[in-house]
């Protein structure tokens, strides 16, 4: 069951320009996969391929794919717009249409993009959704986002309510509630818009592919326990999680990508090499950090560069778990298709309560032998940001390490202050140095 009609994506890279940082094969492969996906999306109206918009946390990509539909992830489009310098105009467009300065900039970027003709991040036109699959996983804004898109596109919406882990676990009755919703609401909605019947064998196949990719992803992320770390588990890992968070979980291409990525990373680990960064390899690593919160996308390379300039590598991050937490044992289970999707949705990082998030950060600091941890607090993301100052204190208390706190935004360039962030980061790293030398420890 190939996931696209032209066969597996090839690793073909354009000739390198002088001075350009060499790209790993996995990076080229991912770029080609994304380009092919957007090409398929552009042609979807002609090929009559149904299109389902959904969100990264709690996405049911395998299920969507099993109906022959293509997923679109609006947050991915928004962050890509941020990285490509387009979000400022999109946000302005949305604010002119009456959206407040105070709300999520992903939403405004996406609305602005839709108002401006819905040209996707690769420059191709995105098709209208045939269905909005609103998986409500730990972010209130998602609900409003799809209510807004429903008004814009006038298409059907199906709501999957994912109960929050208020008590630090997915209660059995909540799991059963999720399964029942998938069975009685989501599947019929997909059958309706695609004209296909639910095919559980097909779904199981995709779930088994997910499992393979998840094994490789976990292996990749855990290489950061090595010294030097062969990966940057925040800035670098946002690329690593890209395929599995978006359209490629449960696909042959996804499996191939993670297999290739794992091979490369393990090779770097064996050679005692650090990650490839935009400023070159980071083999010498003075600081090992854990990071909480999403990155800023408008100044992504500049932000990353502040770390590499100080020879700081991120060894674990929570943001790379918003699309699924796999390192504590969860894998998609083809033997229990609906149950495993329920477990997946309930277990995403955004669906965890604050004590669980604190536990995870403290665990990372210890397991990855970090020198410290940093919180990048996002102005327009209450789901992440509300409570982070208390989390900072709790993690400090549990680990005995001081934490750092910087502020930026997702895709609104007006809220990125390079000087402020750089000053705080440098001061923080100096504090780590001072503690190493026994000053103020």
């Amino acid at each position: 069951m190939s996931t696209h009609p032209t066969g597996p994506i090839q690793i073909t890279s354009p000739p390198k320009n002088r001075g350009e940082v060499p790209k790993d094969d996995s990076m080229v492969l991912q770029k080609n996969m994304i380009a092919e996906h957007f090409r398929q999306l552009e042609e979807a109206p002609q090929t009559r391929t149904p299109v389902v918009y959904t969100f990264v946390p709690g996405n049911l990509t395998e299920l969507v794919r099993s109906f022959g539909a293509l997923p679109v992830l609006p947050e991915i489009n928004a962050l890509q717009s941020g990285m490509r310098g387009k979000s400022r105009d999109y946000i302005a467009e949305a604010e002119r249409a009456g959206h407040s300065e105070d709300v999520c900039t992903y939403v405004k970027c996406d609305i602005g993009q839709a108002l401006a003709g819905n040209i996707g991040p690769t420059g191709t036109k995105l098709p209208k959704p045939d269905l909005l699959l609103l998986s409500y996983t730990g972010c209130y804004t998602f609900m409003k986002w799809f209510e807004l898109l429903r008004e814009h596109y006038g298409c059907p919406t199906v709501f999957l309510q994912v109960p929050y882990q208020g008590d630090g676990r997915l209660a059995p009755e909540h799991r059963a509630y999720l399964m029942e919703q998938i069975r009685t609401e989501v599947i019929p909605a997909l059958e309706n818009v695609t004209g296909r019947k639910y095919d559980e064998d097909r779904l199981r196949h995709y779930l088994s592919l997910s499992r393979q990719a998840e094994d490789d992803l976990v292996a990749v992320l855990e290489t950061a326990k090595r010294k030097p770390s062969p990966i940057d588990a925040y800035f670098g890992a946002v690329y690593y999680v890209g395929p599995i968070f978006s359209a490629f979980r449960g696909t042959e291409d996804g499996v191939r990508y993670y297999h290739e990525l794992r091979r490369e990373v393990e090779e770097r680990a064996r050679a005692g090499r650090g990650p490839i960064t935009p400023d070159g390899p980071l083999d010498e690593q003075r600081y090992r950090l854990v990071v909480e919160g999403p990155p800023n996308w408008t100044n992504f390379r500049e932000f990353w560069g502040m770390f590499t300039a100080e020879q700081a590598v991120v060894v674990a991050s929570t943001y790379t778990k918003v699309g699924g937490v796999y390192e504590f044992g969860f894998r998609h289970d083809p033997e229990d298709p609906l149950g495993t999707m329920a477990d997946y949705c309930g277990g995403c990082y955004t669906n965890l309560n604050l004590p669980s998030r604190v536990d995870m950060l403290a665990h990372y600091v210890k397991e990855y032998e970090a020198d410290g941890f940093l919180i990048n607090s996002i102005k327009s993301c209450n789901s992440f940001s509300a409570g982070q100052l208390l989390m900072l204190r709790e993690v400090e208390k549990r680990t005995g390490l001081p934490g750092a706190f910087v502020e930026s935004d997702l895709v609104d360039p007006r809220y990125f202050s390079a000087a402020n962030i750089k000053n705080r980061l440098e001061s923080y790293l100096q504090m780590i140095d001072a503690r190493r030398q026994g000053v103020g420890a």
Partner: protein, 388 residues
């Protein structure tokens, strides 16, 4: 008791940031317990059936100086949670045996986790309100959540929420809601006799007093209003939308009315009125509580609206029902539910030719001149030209 005395009583409840009223209720019988809840909606019937007093926690308004609370929140998070934390850290909430955090937004949701970290011995419950379109499945989900809550609170209070106790509590809160509807009806019929300031103070009093005390005061108020012979003033009629969670300062409510806008519809303290109909007292009480919310809740930004036409139609419908002339969108700064909904609601209103204005506030806003100017101009434009 005179009308002035009733309003003074309600004002004293509103200004009581040390929660002396619920403390006094607890002190009358040492075995009593109280449970707090954040906005918007909590099932008070269950708390009351367990012999506990439900206490609404709406922050410190403009009366509490924030000293410690600001250390817990970044500048871009709304004001309510920092004043709630201030109340807690200053010991003002230490009489509560538990706190309920409804799924109003991500900030209140995360505040539940903060409570778990800060107060390990206090019962904390996050209430995931039912959101899905299928009423039967949503009812089953919510009924199960209510059962868990009832069991937990029964254990804390030592008083089991039996079916009989639950039915009695439902009856009591049906009376509370019915009396609130009567207050709103009286205001809608003659807003010159029933200023929103007074109705609002009574509703705030209901958040911190036992239901029977509120009922006695509110009924006496309604009787007193009958004697009022005030004449209407030349003002327009507006509904205020977006103030369901963090509450506007009382001065802002007064400013809107004094600037020439009778408020004849609002979503202040919406949780206490979210159930729009009486809840049946026959059958299984938890099921009736659950089904009533799922099938009869007022449309609000904190609940998903499965009807694609729901948002565009909401303002025209509310304006029609209130016989209002326009809409004032008044939302707290950084309030995701209200601000994300506003473009949809406003578009629906404007498409129907309903005049609208919008502004933002914080619970501790102290300067009202800009609101006076906006509301005054809005009122003038409606009165002079029939539109903004």
């Amino acid at each position: 008791m005179s009308r002035q005395e009733i309003v003074s009583w309600a004002r004293s409840c509103y200004e009581d940031v040390r929660f002396e009223k619920p403390r006094a209720w607890l002190a009358d019988h040492p075995e009593r317990r109280a449970v707090g809840h954040l906005p918007v909606y909590a099932p008070k019937e269950i708390v009351w059936a367990c012999g506990m007093l439900p206490v609404g926690i709406y922050g410190g308004g403009d009366q509490v100086e924030i000293i410690r609370g600001d250390a817990y929140y970044q500048s871009y998070i709304c004001h309510l949670p920092r004043s709630v934390i201030e109340l807690a850290l200053s010991g003002r909430l230490d009489f509560l045996s538990g706190v309920l955090f409804p799924s109003t937004c991500d900030v209140i949701r995360n505040l539940s986790g903060m409570w778990q970290l800060l107060y390990e011995k206090i019962y904390v419950r996050y209430l995931d309100l039912p959101q899905i379109a299928d009423p039967d499945l949503a009812t089953r989900f919510w009924e199960r959540e209510l059962k868990t809550l009832a069991d937990d609170l029964s254990e804390i209070s030592g008083i089991r929420a039996s079916d009989d106790r639950l039915r009695a509590a439902i009856t009591t809160y049906n009376e509370v809601r019915s009396t609130m509807r009567a207050l709103y009806r009286a205001r809608g019929e003659a807003p010159w006799r029933v200023p929103t300031e007074e109705v609002y103070l009574l509703l705030r009093a209901a958040e911190v007093t036992p239901p029977d005390e509120f009922l006695a005061q509110a009924r006496a108020y309604l009787a007193a209003v009958e004697e009022d012979t005030s004449r209407p003033k030349d003002r327009c009629r507006v509904i205020v939308v977006g103030s369901f969670c963090e509450q506007p300062p009382l001065g802002l409510i007064k400013t809107i009315e004094r600037a020439g806008c009778y408020i004849v519809g609002d979503d202040f303290l919406l949780g206490s009125r979210l159930n729009q109909q009486d809840i049946p007292v026959d059958g299984d009480p938890l099921h009736q509580l659950a089904a009533s919310l799922v099938r009869g809740a007022a449309r609000t930004s904190v609940l998903y609206d499965p009807d694609p036409e729901g948002k565009p139609r909401l303002m025209p419908q509310q304006v029609r029902e209130s016989q209002a002339d326009g809409v004032i969108f008044a939302a707290p700064s950084f309030c995701d539910p209200a601000l994300l909904d506003r473009p949809m609601l406003r578009a629906g209103a404007e498409k129907a030719g309903i005049p609208c204005i919008a502004f933002q506030y914080s619970e501790n806003t102290g300067q009202f001149q800009q609101y006076r100017d906006q509301a005054g101009t809005f009122s003038d434009s409606i009165k002079l030209w029939g539109g903004a």
